[in-house]
């Protein structure tokens, strides 16, 4: 394979093994429908969506079944033609029960999607595009699941010059964005046209890690004439895919502490999200499925699959096949993903990967914990130059005030690089996650 030389990067970071070879050559394939789909009403950050269907109602594939419950909220669509069995509680990733729509597919329906009102990129205004993105139920598909239209609504007092399309995919094991960049190039360019118009940015940069030379080269060749788009290779380093790190690598700017990318004139959108915008808006449709990498040493049939939203993990893993020694089921990648406690949790819009580890890999992370020896590895790893060594000690003694005010805890975006390198196996990022939660709770109750 041809290689691409990349110079752009950020300071610090880590180099975990990538484990991408197994799935990177596997094209995205359609996944079958489970017996019941569970569509959680709050599968994005912000307010939950409001169900507009009732139990027993028949719905068509692509039909709107829930409307957004506020500005920071999005619409939901039926992933399949079927009947609403019930609206009730279902387990979610973080262990909480969330209100969900249980949808039972009709056994042999055509699964065609009813036509709807399209949003034309040439005639629609910026506000119309933003409304259409919300109506299409689009959230950040990279994992954060933040409603995309909120991000694109640039506040009056700010302006942005550069749109960054995030095709970095720095999480090990995951290759879904890579596949999207190879298979859905027209959608990506169309999506960029919509977003450029919605945000008023003058140019777009697609940032891709240098370990995806095929995506970089073919995207570069296919840039439609007249569009202000460049494709830039960035060095392979974790967490290059973090918004702040990508902005720094490509533009040399820093997002101010506590601020947003718009504060330094840019906005970052995940490449798969961009492709969805480009694919759905011209037809006026909503997100009903997404591509996910199912991978890991614990899975029989690894690959990239187009999976209906709401597919329970149990069904997904039955189809893909689990090995006997599987122990950990992770939603997302190995660096920032979450282990699930129940396989009844459904796939949501924010699920980019389903990773299954076996006893062997999990033993590697369950090592003896030593006291901090001050090696400084975590300081050299932290992409935002925090002092995890010191904050880890402060967390143990519940010195949350000092962590926040003297050591900038709230700037931590929990990439986990510190825990990854810690030779004493101190669960640093876990301490920070918990500490941030405690600080937020304190502020909320004050």
């Amino acid at each position: 394979m041809t290689t691409v030389v990349a110079k752009k990067t950020f300071d610090h970071g880590v180099h975990p093994p990538t484990f991408k070879d197994g799935t990177v050559k596997r094209e995205i394939r359609q996944f079958p429908f489970a017996k019941v789909l569970i569509i959680a009403l709050s599968q994005h950050l912000g307010a939950p969506a409001k169900a507009i269907v009732r139990e027993g109602q028949e719905v068509q594939r692509g039909e709107k079944i829930a409307e957004s419950g506020g500005f920071v909220s999005v619409t939901m669509h039926a992933p399949v033609s079927g009947i609403i069995k019930k609206i009730g509680w279902a387990p979610s990733l973080n262990g909480k029960m969330v209100n969900s729509i249980f949808l039972e597919p009709f056994p042999a329906s055509g699964q065609t999607i009813e036509p709807s009102t399209p949003c034309d990129v040439d005639t629609a205004s910026a506000d119309e595009i933003i409304a259409a993105i919300q109506e299409a139920g689009i959230v950040g598909l990279g994992g954060a699941a933040f409603p995309t239209h909120v991000k694109l609504k640039i506040p009056e007092d700010k302006s942005i010059d550069t749109l960054i399309i995030n095709g970095v995919e720095c999480e090990p094991y995951l290759t879904t964005d890579h596949r999207v960049m190879l298979e859905q190039q027209d959608d990506i360019f169309m999506g960029i046209r919509y977003i450029l118009k919605a945000t008023g940015a003058q140019r777009a940069i697609i940032g891709i890690e240098a370990n995806k030379p095929d995506a970089i080269i073919s995207l570069r060749e296919k840039i439609p004439a007249g569009l202000p788009i460049t494709v830039e290779a960035v060095k392979v380093k974790y967490p290059q895919g973090a918004e702040k790190m990508l902005i720094t690598a490509l533009l040399g700017r820093e997002v101010p502490s506590g601020g947003l990318p718009a504060d330094c004139g840019s906005v970052v959108v995940n490449v798969a999200t961009t492709a969805e915008i480009g694919r759905l808006l011209p037809m006026g449709r909503g997100i009903i499925e997404r591509s996910i990498t199912i991978t890991g040493p614990g899975v029989e049939k690894i690959g990239n699959y187009l999976i209906p939203i709401g597919t329970p993990l149990r069904y997904a893993l039955e189809q893909a096949g689990l090995k006997k020694n599987a122990t950990r089921v992770i939603l997302g990648g190995p660096m920032m993903g979450f282990t699930v406690s129940s396989l009844d949790v459904p796939i949501t819009k924010g699920t980019s990967g389903l990773l299954v580890l076996t006893d062997h890999e999990s033993q590697l992370t369950i090592r003896k914990e030593y006291a901090c020896i001050g090696c400084g590895y975590c300081l050299d790893a932290c992409p935002i130059f925090l002092n995890p060594s010191r904050m880890g000690r402060l967390a143990k003694f519940e010195q949350y005030d000092a962590m926040e005010k003297e050591y900038n805890l709230m700037d931590c975006f929990e990439c986990g690089s510190c825990s990854y390198v810690c030779p004493s196996n101190i669960p640093l990022v876990h301490y920070f996650r918990v500490s941030k939660g405690i600080i937020r709770d304190k502020k909320a109750s004050a």
Binding site: V14, P16, T248, R253, E254, V255, P256, S257, G259, D263, C264, G265, R314, L317, E318, K323, A326, T327, R328, V329, I330, G332, P334, M335, M336, G337, T339, S341, S342, L343, L357, E361, S362, L364, T365, R367, Y370, A371, C372, I373, G374, C375, G376, Y377, L379, F385, L386, N387, S389, R390, N408, D411, S419, Y420, P423, S424, N425, P427, V429, R433
Partner: protein
Amino acid sequence: MNVLNKTLEIRTSPHLKSAVSTDQIMMHVVIALVPTTLFAIYAFGLAALLILSVTTFTAILTEHIYCRLNNKETTITDWSAAITGLLLGLTLPPALPLWMAALGSVASIALVKLLFGGLGYNIFNPALGGRAILQAAFPVAITTWHPAFLADRFSSIPSSSFAWPFTTGTYDAVAGATPLGNMKFNQVSTDVTDMAMGLTSGSVGETSAVLILLGGAYLVARNMMNWKIPVVIFITVAILSGIVNFFNPNTPTPMFMLLSGGMMLGAVFMATDMVSSPVTDRGIIAYSVIIGIMVTVIRLWGGLPEGMMYAVLMGNAVSPLLNRSLKSRVYGTGKKGGAK
């Protein structure tokens, strides 16, 4: 579908871990000290072998007993007690009475390390702390040197080594003035090549600059030592002593300063101790500069010929302060934050 019904493991991310662990780092430090240790035994014979064995074994035993007394799992498997014992032995005069060496080891481990909380919590480098205690308690014995490369070094043991506890014993050969002693008290310099190769007298493991640097390079290559610490110390010492030497040619040259005494061993293996050195980038630089200044000042104007030990201990003492006052600029704060 049995697999799907089994209990799933719940852990927080990351689910990947880089390979190196704390005990491995410590083990590699011991490996890095092997050339220096072997050369010490070659240069000083049975005396060095005995003193290194005694300090290392006593350090490990002290840590083990301490853990047992506190009903804790023994911590000797993390290799750090072995490092302390070995390092202490390398800083002692070869013919020091062994009971003093053992006492130094007990002090290093019990007083300087374990009383502060054990590995990771000690403020001072345990080996140097123990040596400082010996220096205070036995100022004569610890500055009585023994010649290197004696013909009978593999067949006889200096009689002082086996002095009864609480006695100093008699010394066989009162010779072997160190290059630093010669410089300080007799204004006689020593050949630089001899010092680099380790052909001079001195503490057990401090004489061969080349082998110490080799061990340091081994650790730097494994990212287990911060190369900035010795480099900045060397630069600081070279600049300061170079300036002084320029105005007063009777003072030691920068090359002499770097190759004599405990400079190499101290800068490469003591000052770089992860636990007792700072962690922030700017803190590390300030720490190294402080050590470089202190050792130059003590050697040139102090009453002692050697100052490395006190310089490093001084650096250790200010490390927590340096960590706190010299933080790195956090991303998105300060000047660059919000810059468009």
